[in-house]
Amino acid sequence: MTGDVTTRASHLEHHFHDAEQQRGAAKLGMWIFLATEILFFGGLFLAYGAMRFFYPGTFRAAHAFLSVPMGGLNTAVLITSSLTMALAVRAAQLSNTRHLVRLLLVTLLLAGVFLVVKYIEYSHKFHLGLLPGRFFTARGIAGMPHVFFGVYFVMTGLHGVHVIAGMIIITWILLRARQGRYHAAYYTPVENVGLYWHLVDLIWIFLFPLLYLVK
């Protein structure tokens, strides 16, 4: 109970009694952080809902300019990356460092693919002048198309920022995993990065139908 003089693992920080307490704290902290992320995006979804309610015709017309194959491809890419992330956590639990590193690399690669596809989509939009707000120059969509593309770029842009943040922390645990720091007794960081990555994936799973598919 006092948890002081007994042999303490190197990953156990001084203010925790034992690894279980540390793990519990880290996971709870992560879940709360995810809740803040959901509320953050919740505001965006509300803005989307309000704008869609104001300009239903425009949204229907404008969404046709988004590329469903591209969005669909990205959805598949992200879901696959969630799978490899989940497998990476499993590998860490089994102390299989080689697997862990490989799976994290694949996850990172898929995240990169997502961004490349997004880049292609964005540049196409830029080319057509389908830009947010007052930079919108395209013709041929009735109503308030600049609002739709404003919402589109803000939502996918912020999601993209989260993908980049995810890539940074995946790289971080990848480097540490290569040093063999994660094993059956200690894999909380991998698990937490995994949780974050699944959330990023999940947000996209809502963004894709709302922006690309809903008629």
């Binding site: 803040t36 505001g43 007052r134 404003g150």
Partner: protein, 549 residues
């Protein structure tokens, strides 16, 4: 219970409790502070920063009141006046009150009260402070260097059109939000995972309960502010047409977004104050708190309801009548858990042995001032009355009674209550009482006059006013000077006590909760041995029984 450790030795010890380890104040040097992960040092750094901003915001308020001494604008131009009240509001809200009690006193005492060595994530705690400093610098720079005349609410469409530095100011607030969220996450996890053995939920001090409820609001509401400000920034830079009516947006939508955070934020400010008052009232009347569970759970109830009342800021903004009625009803509903607290405090005082020392004076002052602040909130929550009082000085008076008469008074009371523990020094009780009297009189003179001004139709935020309002404005300005003098006296005697104050005993007030049972000032690891809790935080009988041989 034979497992009782030294850390739980009886109170009233004159010598420090037998503890191992150095005082948390022992290490010297700027770096040992700026990069400390010790929650106590982080709390002290927050305290210093917060008091600094309180002083800056306060001096601005005194200047504003000085300008309002006469009906015509003579000290400042209208633009300067707008800038000053914006600066006053933004500093007081974002840099002072929101972090005040949780980040300073909460950081210091939450782990101590739970019997923990530190908060769950010390590194994140330090990051929270650094982010706070960064956000404060961005916010202040943009207001001081640029202009800023939107008020602290950044209402659209004005904020999307004005030439003021809205983007960088809101970005500063955006950064500050992270600091608040980090503190909130830390506190929730600490309460859930770091409690000492025997520290059940119903043995937690009420300050911990209140801070916990606050943390829940911080975590759930602040992200919404973040996205609101981000959308505002995007609206200004790209004109995406969400909030700006000229681009097809809806300014009322902005108000919904803004108040969805900013009303709960009001409870981020007041809930920890309730926690402090619960501590002060019970300890300084040497009587077990009346209705422990009711007070604890009413904090949680307030936290929940606080998310459902934002529309009462928008009664005249053009929301639907049905929505306004529902929001009005829910606003009244907040009064119920709040009244439960006030009645419980009064019932605690009944037949208690009340010590009229400085912390308790603030505790009692709080009950008086907060009751006025709370009840005038009912006026404003009433639809028909609000139409007349909206945007008048009545509103200004109301929220100053709640924010300053409530939160700031509780904060100062808590500061006195825990000052001996934090610094190891006693402050001058006599000067404490003198300052309290000045603060109390000055405060009431300043803001009660404003209730009268408001009911007579004086609109808020005006640089000049009609001559018929002069008397009450003059009274208010005189009051503000008295209040300012009182606050500066507090600053001086507290600073003086650091150097010349008597050494503080371990437990000067005879408290039962754990923070009183470690060394004064606490050692770096808080407790020499893991404390084991065997009774509630206000079982004064228990302690008296222990004292008997």
């Amino acid at each position: 219970m034979s497992t009782r450790t030294d850390a739980l030795a009886p109170p009233h010890l004159e010598a420090p409790a037998p503890t191992e380890g150095e005082s948390y104040l022992a290490a010297k040097g700027v770096m040992s502070w700026a990069f400390s992960r010790d929650h106590k040092r982080i709390g002290i750094m927050y305290l210093v920063a917060i008091l600094f901003f309180f002083m800056v915001g306060g001096i601005l308020a005194l200047l504003i009141r000085m300008e309002l001494l006469t009906p015509t604008g003579d000290l400042f131009s209208s633009d300067t006046y707008n800038k000053m009240f914006t600066l006053h509001g933004a500093i007081m809200i974002f840099l002072f009150i929101i972090p005040s009690i949780p980040a300073a006193l909460g950081n210091f005492f939450l782990p101590l009260m739970l019997g923990a060595k530190d908060v769950a994530f010390p590194r994140m705690n330090l990051a929270s402070f650094h982010i706070y400093v960064a956000g404060a610098l961005v916010l202040l720079y943009s207001i001081v260097a640029g202009t800023m005349d939107t008020g602290w609410t950044f209402y659209t469409p004005y904020s999307t059109q004005t030439k003021a530095a809205v983007v960088s100011a809101t970005f500063g607030v955006f950064i500050l939000g992270f600091s608040s969220v980090f503190t909130g996450i830390n506190f929730i996890v600490t309460v859930h995972r770091m409690r000492a053995p025997g520290m059940t939920w119903n043995r937690m001090p009420l300050f911990v309960w209140a801070t916990y409820a606050t943390a829940v609001i911080q975590v759930l509401a602040t992200p919404v502010l973040a996205i609101t400000l981000l959308l505002l920034i995007v609206e200004r830079t790209l004109g995406i047409g969400i909030f700006d009516p000229a681009m097809g947006g809806d300014p009322v939508l902005y108000q919904h977004f803004f108040w969805f955070y900013s009303h709960p934020a009001v409870y981020i400010m007041i809930l920890p104050a309730f926690g402090i008052i619960s501590e002060l009232i019970t300890i300084h009347s040497r009587k077990h708190i009346f209705g422990y569970k009711a007070i604890a759970l009413s904090s949680v109830a307030i936290a929940i309801i606080s998310f459902l009342v934002w529309g009462h800021h928008m009664f005249v903004s053009g929301q639907s009548e049905l929505a306004a009625m529902i929001f009005s009803f829910l606003t009244f509903a907040v009064a119920v858990p709040t009244a439960i607290k006030v009645f419980s405090w009064v019932a605690t005082l009944y037949k208690g042995s009340i010590a009229f020392n400085t912390p308790m004076l603030y505790g009692l002052g709080f009950i008086f001032l907060f009751t006025i602040g709370g009840l005038t909130g009912i006026f404003l929550g009433t639809l028909s009355v609000d139409v007349h009082l909206h945007d008048t000085y009545f509103v200004v008076a109301h929220f100053h009674y709640v924010m300053m008469g409530g939160t700031v008074i509780a904060f100062i009371g808590g500061l006195h209550h825990w000052w001996p523990k934090m610094t190891g020094r006693m402050f001058s009780e006599r000067w404490g009482k003198i300052a309290f009297v000045l603060v109390f009189i000055g405060f009431n003179l300043t803001f009660f006059s404003q209730f009268i001004l408001g009911t007579r139709g004086m609109p808020r935020r005006y640089h000049e006013y009609l001559p018929r309002f002069t008397l009450w404005h003059v009274l208010s300005s005189i009051g503000s000077q008295i209040l300012g003098i009182g606050l500066f006296i507090i600053l001086f005697y507290l600073l003086y006590s650091l150097f010349r104050g008597a050494r503080a005993p371990v437990n000067p007030w005879g408290g039962v909760s754990l923070e009183w049972h470690t060394a004064t000032p606490p050692i770096t690891h808080n407790f020499a041995e893991q404390p084991v809790v065997t009774h509630g935080p206000y079982d004064f009988d228990e302690i008296q029984r222990e004292e008997a041989p």
